[in-house]
């Protein structure tokens, strides 16, 4: 932590180099960067010491170089919609607002790429691309706020990932400012694949700001699909729904999205239905899982795909969800965002308690087991169960990324502690079931310390890699890696001879 005189000195230097309108130290400016979307104590607020808002890669580089002089932490802040505390400045330092990087530099229709600042929101990027009849199909529910940069830094989930994949499949090139202030272009320009050199892009995907700042990206884009159809199919169990999905892929269908909700989770995703109809959706008692799917493309192909999917799933004891309004409600929630004005789901459903979810990746054969363990672990930690949703996040294959959600009472310290315990136990459970702790929100603040349970000695190698990019441990300290462990690793950059 830095004393007042040091902060004044750093502020002065930053203002000299970047300009006074880029650097803020008022409490109120700092307060607004103190929280993200993660469940935490209502009273908890980590204020950065300084807020910096760079508008160019050069400004970002200058800022990082100054921070290196003083060894002051840098915490990137973009949409602020992370669920892991990654953008929360737990050691103080500098919050860097990345919204200044929101320019679309090039829409290359011929090569089907877009080059844009990493601070642009996914919603805005798609509004601009739509003018060209194009589309960036990475589609997290948080898209009105979350940015392209955070899709890279957190490797978050997308509704259409089962058809298009996610950040590793879209990101072709990036300009980053490393923890030393070096400006690096990484990736393979507009080429989709490359075999030369070592691959640095994947290191930055999911790095959560621990290696540097992602300032500019070149992304693969697609033509806007002409039509889309959505359907919901009820099953007796999650396993049956998973098997049906597997069968659809085996049949050769190109599924655009495939989400499997347990009965309880469905209630959360039908918020707009309940507002509109003033009742719960009508679901038969026998049904314990709903498979929501969508298809996009030309009308004939989409119609055929939907009808074929309904036929195949019926043979597998699936029953089409007849209440169209409920399917629409789910689709609004996951994709269109066309909620009833003034009744948007997120704040409306969070008036008493906070949504919190473990984001585990489990092998398909162990989902049912994971579901049972989830119910036990949530109950043990005194958390109300909100339900499970299985997303599929790799193109054209069963690739479960599972949200195991609970309600957290952020006014009750015991409930918050229960949440922390819950995430830890769920993370261990995922590894025990031959899976992974996180599939869309990363390690952040919460999994530091126990992510070694998954990575073992590999975590030491990861820390050594981090040191190459960030020798002074200033990039988002306390996230992903334990700062004390990092400080034990000796790493010096050899200076080039004069």
């Amino acid at each position: 932590m830095f004393n007042k005189a040091q902060i004044q000195q750093i502020t002065q230097k930053l203002r000299e180099e970047l300009g006074a309108d880029r650097v803020f130290t008022q409490v109120f400016h700092r307060l607004v960067y103190s929280r993200d979307w993660s469940p935490r104590d209502a009273k908890e607020a980590y204020l950065p010491d300084i807020v910096v808002r760079p508008f160019s890669i050069e400004e970002a580089s200058k800022m990082v170089k100054i921070c290196n002089e003083f060894h002051i932490p840098i915490v990137p802040y973009a949409g602020g919609t992370g669920m892991s505390g990654a953008s929360v400045p737990i050691y103080g330092g500098i919050s860097v607002d990345m919204k200044g990087f929101d320019e679309v530099k090039e829409v290359d229709e011929k090569n089907m790429t877009v080059t844009c600042g990493a601070g642009i929101t996914i919603l805005r990027l798609n509004e601009i691309l739509a003018e060209y009849g194009l589309w960036f199909p990475h589609d997290p529910e948080s898209k009105p706020a979350s940015t392209v940069g955070s899709a890279v830094a957190c490797n978050n989930d997308g509704t259409f990932a089962i058809k298009y994949g996610r950040t590793p499949d879209f990101l072709l090139n990036a300009v980053v400012v490393t923890g030393t202030g070096q400006i690096l272009r990484i990736g393979h320009r507009k080429a989709l694949v490359s075999s030369t050199g070592l691959k640095l892009l994947p290191l930055f995907i999911g790095s959560e700001g621990t290696l540097g700042l992602v300032c500019e990206t070149t992304l693969r884009i697609y033509p806007l699909p002409k039509t889309r159809q959505v359907a919901g199919i009820l099953f007796k169990s999650i396993n049956e729904a998973m098997k049906a999905l597997q069968r659809l892929l085996q049949a050769g269908l190109s599924v655009e999205s495939a989400h499997i909700n347990c009965g309880r989770r469905l209630n959360f995703y039908t918020h707009s239905f309940r507002l509109k109809h003033n009742r719960d959706p009508d679901i038969p008692e026998w049904a314990d899982a709903v498979l929501f799917i969508s298809f996009n493309g030309d009308e004939d192909v989409v119609n055929f795909s939907k009808n074929y999917a309904l036929k195949v799933t019926k043979e597998l004891s699936g029953e089409q969800l007849k209440e169209e309004a409920m399917v629409e409600s789910w689709w609004n929630s996951k994709h269109t965002g066309s909620f009833i004005p003034f009744r948007q789901k997120w704040p409306d459903s969070q008036r008493e308690k906070k949504f919190g979810a473990a984001d585990l990746g489990l092998p398909v054969g162990r989902i049912e087991e994971g579901y049972k363990r989830y119910l036990e672990i949530a109950e043990k930690n005194g958390l109300e169960i909100l339900g499970m949703c299985v997303y599929n996040e790799k193109a054209n294959c069963i690739s479960p990324s599972i949200s195991f959600a609970v309600w957290v009472d952020d006014k009750d310290p015991e409930s918050v502690q229960g949440w922390w315990n819950y995430i830890k136990e769920m993370s261990y459970m995922a590894v025990d079931l031959e899976g992974t702790m996180s599939t869309y929100w990363g390690d952040g603040q919460f999994r530091v310390g126990y992510n070694r349970y998954e990575h073992g000695e590999s975590l030491d190698t990861m820390m050594q890699i981090k040191k190459i990019f960030d020798p002074n441990n200033i990039m988002n300290p306390g996230k992903k890696f334990d700062l004390k462990e990092l400080e034990k690793i000796d790493f010096k950059i050899e200076k080039k001879p004069e």
Partner: protein, 373 residues
């Protein structure tokens, strides 16, 4: 503190942190700093409630809180009454003495001259000299300051159109008080309450039951704000186009004269998103032969602000200019010949810069005037 009343909502925002309010906020788009977005201001509000923020910073906070057109975009993309919370935040800052000098000029002008523009009160009724009003009518035509002083001819047309439709109205002439919207939106709530009591008494003495206006700001102030401060204010308040749209739906009006124009329609924030009058202008436009309506990407509840509201014009003229430029670019991109709106504040704001764009400006009443026999 006024903010105390919204404590639960402020904590709900802090708990949620979805940030869906940010992207469409016209001010955040320009400033690109979290403190200017509603989500940021909700944390500032909490900081003030909990005493985390030192009072030495309140002056700067007031500047940021006043850098807002109270367009309601943040509220429409939320489930919390964000526009009301922001106005309460302003009220608390005013109570503590953090008053914007430019706002104060307008407010003092309302007190002295019954308009926020420091113009003579008597001039407000010049437009009505040759128009006959009915002192016995239960309907009061409320002209509003902006229309009366900047678009007087429009007002005459509005009244003439309503007369053609068989609606006779009363009018207060130079006795018409200002609605006091500026007082409310800038947080000068003690003065606003005085203005309400005065206005209510004047209205009551005329014996009217219904107030009809062409100004969305006045409409919303009377309809939605007055009763919150003063329960006795129980007049029915209608916008002109609500009456006309209803008559179209009832088959009482049929436009026969074609108006051959390709137009796009700008929903004023106070009329559309905040008052919910979104279908009515479109019912009218679709009923006029020859009109080709090309919608912008952002309409209705998601319409983009022109920048004129919330007292923003008085505090940051450049910011207002950037916001209106952004909206005009969107209007121009539709390829329409005319940008049609129905708000004197939007019109006043667009009027200044529309010459830079390949589109012309009209009020919806102008089009009705062309179409009506």
């Amino acid at each position: 503190m006024e903010l105390e009343k919204f404590k639960d909502a402020i904590y709900t925002c802090n708990r949620t942190r979805c940030g869906f309010c940010r992207e469409e906020c016209p001010v955040f788009k320009e400033k690109k700093l979290e403190s200017y977005a509603c989500r940021g201001k909700m944390l500032i509000a909490r900081g003030m409630l909990e005493g985390i923020i030192p009072e030495s910073e309140y002056e700067e906070i007031a500047k940021i809180v006043n850098s807002c057109s109270i367009c309601g975009s943040c509220a429409a993309n939320c489930a919390l009454d964000n526009d009301e919370i922001l106005e309460a935040l302003r009220a608390d800052l005013v109570k503590k003495g953090f008053v914007d000098e430019n706002h104060l000029i307008g407010i003092n002008s309302i007190i002295e001259k019954e308009n926020p523009f420091q113009l003579d009160r008597e001039d407000k009724s010049d437009w009505a000299e040759d128009i006959g009003f009915s002192k016995q009518s239960p309907i009061l035509f409320y002209a509003g300051c902006t229309d009366s002083l900047f678009y007087p001819e429009r007002l005459a047309d509005v009244v003439k159109i309503l007369k053609k439709l068989g609606i006779e109205m009363n009018y207060l002439g130079s006795d018409e008080p200002c609605c006091g919207e500026l007082m409310h939106t800038t947080g000068h709530w003690v003065k606003f309450r005085t203005q309400i009591e005065k206005t209510e008494k004047i209205f009551r003495e005329t014996g009217v039951k219904t107030i009809v206006t062409h100004c969305p700001g006045c409409l919303r102030t009377f309809r939605d704000k007055y009763s919150k401060f003063y329960e006795k204010f129980d007049f029915e308040v209608l916008h002109v186009i609500q009456i006309i749209a209803k008559k179209i739906e009832n088959g009482e009006i049929q436009f026969k004269k074609p108006v051959n124009m390709k137009i796009t329609y700008h929903d004023p924030c106070h009329l559309g998103r905040l008052a919910g009058i979104i279908e009515e202008p479109r019912i009218i436009l679709n009923a006029i032969p020859g009109i080709e309506l090309v919608e912008m990407n952002h309409i209705g509840y998601q319409s983009h602000c022109c920048g004129a509201g919330g007292g923003l014009m008085a505090v940051d003229y450049e910011l207002v200019g950037n916001i209106s430029d952004s909206r005009l670019k969107e209007a121009e991109a539709t390829g329409a010949e005319y940008l049609v709106t129905i708000c004197p504040s939007c019109e006043f704001n667009f009027d200044k810069v529309i010459r830079n764009y390949n589109i012309k400006l009209l009020d919806l009443m102008d089009i009705i005037d062309m179409a009506i026999e």
